[in-house]
């Protein structure tokens, strides 16, 4: 600690600069993870919120609700199947809506559920089954309770009766209506369902019911178009950033160590062990990284309130802890090269180098 801190004190600017770089890299890692998280949640929140064990969709739909059409009898078959405790139908599609007498239409996700069932997000649909409950994502577009939504091309008009949070679907403004209302808006959907949410044993339904495939909530989420590609891209950028952070720290400490070779020789001649000198270096890298990581966390967290409602951006503390830990581990690993160099310093150099 003694050596580590004295060196900081003596070369403030040099260490401040590298700390600033770590701040930037760490901030980027955190911001990207919040963005990835925001995008993922915006895609799948509505599904994530469903308290079901599994889902039944039409074969060949590959868990894409838009593509899945189950005939009405499937629901009865599922409900009668062994091991099924409860089954609720779900309708989902994208639609255009005009708000009040505004110009232009808004692309929305529309979900049809049975009011009062476990698929109902609450906040008014049960009391007003003819109305629509909108998600915060739609409220952010300036829609409020009492506004009238006019669906295109069917022309059906529905009043907003409530607002819920945390039920966005496919990154566009999302709203919930009853199954009956849904069929008015999308007449094609008559006597069909997109999916059936099942509580109880759902796995065996694939065999016992004709024309269906079953999947978990994760299957439905990862089946969303672009979901995996998007998550993969962001994860790759984050991975590169972590590697860059390791590279910066490794190079920085390596150069500083090389510059100090003769002093390290003198200290070893005076009786310093490799352990003492290596500890000082590791302490330095831990301090610089922890500062960088903490500032990065604060930055990405402050950005949350700045970006509120504009960009899907969501800070998640468990992810922060995960990426923070990875960065810290990587930073310490980055000093390994320098540690080898320190171990190889010969105290005899203190005498020979001078000659």
């Amino acid at each position: 600690m003694f050596l580590a801190l004295r060196e900081f004190k003596h070369a403030k600017l040099r260490y401040a600069l590298v700390s600033a770089i770590i701040v930037l890299v760490a901030s980027l890692v955190f911001i990207l993870s919040a963005l990835a998280n925001g995008l993922a949640t915006g895609q799948s929140e509505a599904i994530d919120a469903i308290d079901a064990d599994g889902f039944v969709v039409a074969t060949g739909s590959e868990y894409l609700l838009d593509r899945s059409r189950l005939p009405a009898e499937t629901l009865d078959q599922v409900r009668e199947a062994n091991g099924v405790e409860e089954a609720q139908p779900l309708l989902a599609s994208a639609n255009n809506v005009r708000i009040g007498d505004q110009d232009g239409v808004l692309g929305v996700s529309i979900l049809g559920v049975d009011p009062g069932s476990f698929l109902d997000p609450g906040n008014g649909l049960e009391e007003n089954p003819d109305g629509a409950v909108i998600d915060q994502s739609m409220a952010n577009e300036g829609v409020g309770v009492g506004d009238v939504l006019r669906f295109e091309p069917s022309g059906v008009e529905i009043e907003v009766v409530g607002i819920v949070d945390g039920h966005e679907y496919r990154l566009i403004p999302t709203l919930f209506v009853s199954l009956d209302t849904y069929v008015q808006i999308v007449p094609d959907a008559k006597d069909t369902y997109s999916a059936i949410a099942v509580r109880g044993d759902y796995a065996s339904l694939a065999d016992s019911v004709e024309g269906v495939m079953v999947g978990s909530r994760d299957d439905l989420v990862t089946g969303l178009p672009g979901y995996q590609e998007q998550a993969g891209t962001l994860l790759m950028i984050q991975g590169f950033l972590v590697v860059i952070a390791a590279g910066i720290i490794a190079a920085f400490f390596f150069i500083i160590t090389l510059q100090k070779m003769s002093e390290l020789g003198v200290m070893k001649a005076l009786g310093a062990t490799t352990f003492t000198l290596a500890t000082a270096l590791v302490i330095q890298s831990v301090i610089l990284s922890v500062i960088g990581i903490l500032v990065g966390i604060v930055v990405s967290w402050l950005l949350q309130s700045v970006l509120e409602g504009t960009v899907p951006y969501r800070v998640q503390s468990s992810q922060m802890i995960l990426y923070g830990t990875i960065l810290l581990v990587v930073a310490v690993a980055g000093t390994l090269l320098s540690l080898f160099r320190i171990a190889r310093v010969d105290p005899l150099d203190a005498i020979n180098r001078a000659n």
Binding site: H10, L270, P347, L348
Partner: protein, 226 residues
């Protein structure tokens, strides 16, 4: 007769083998008593630094025995050698000698830390030493803010922090003018006498010999008492 602190007995050291073999030190034998400072002089390449490194447990001899305070240090290995240097030997090197990012006081405090001294004990010793060497006004200065002579005085103070049995200096005056060089050697000799330690100074400068108690001459690795 005073106790012999350093005993070197038929010590040899060679480097390399076959055609490239160099016999840097050949069958050297001598003793140094407590409170005695010895000048080690000889031409370049005669083996002065090699001999000093072996006496300082930095290098192991090919043959022979080195005893410091009765203990054989020639056979010590690894951490026990490091420990021996830390606890019993003081070093003053030529040139790049101080740690660049530590102030004069911190150079000494670092020794105290490694020795496991308490903070108060460290500070008492460090301040006393810096005062003895006339550096009390420079305690908070970094090496880059000190003159060559001041740096060597701090190096002497640092070499005495562990209250060593043996102090070794390899050309401590090399980067100083003759007047300042002489001052530094005189200071070192004073400390050796006062603290009853054994000291060896390697030097090229014949004019500094009279400051020391005895002279060892080395040429081609052969040591001869004068």
């Amino acid at each position: 007769m005073a106790a012999s602190i350093l005993t070197v007995d038929r010590l040899s050291r060679h480097f390399g083998t076959g055609d490239s073999r160099v016999d840097a030190v050949k069958q050297a034998s001598f003793e140094i008593q407590a409170g005695e400072i010895v000048a080690l002089v000889g031409p370049s390449g005669s083996g002065k630094s090699t001999l000093l490194s072996i006496a300082g447990a930095l290098l192991r001899p090919s043959e022979g025995v080195v005893k410091l305070g009765g203990r054989d240090i020639s056979s010590l290995k690894g951490t026990s050698r490091t420990r021996m240097r830390l606890e019993s030997i003081g070093f003053i090197f030529q040139g790049s000698n101080l740690v660049s990012f530590l102030t004069a006081l911190e150079q000494l405090q670092f020794m105290g830390k490694m020795l496991g001294l308490s903070a108060t004990e460290t500070d008492v010793r460090a301040k006393q030493l810096l005062e003895e060497l006339g550096m009390e006004k420079r305690m908070r200065h970094y090496p880059e803010q000190m003159s060559g002579g001041e740096r060597q005085r701090v190096a002497i103070a640092r070499a005495l922090m562990n209250e060593p049995e043996l102090v070794l200096a390899d050309e401590p005056t090399a980067s100083l003018d003759s007047q300042r060089g002489r001052q530094v050697v005189e200071l070192l000799a004073d400390e050796v006498h006062r603290r009853e330690v054994a000291g060896i100074i390697v030097t090229h400068d014949e004019r500094l010999i009279d400051v020391c108690d005895r002279v060892l001459r080395i040429s081609d690795g052969e040591v001869r008492e004068e």
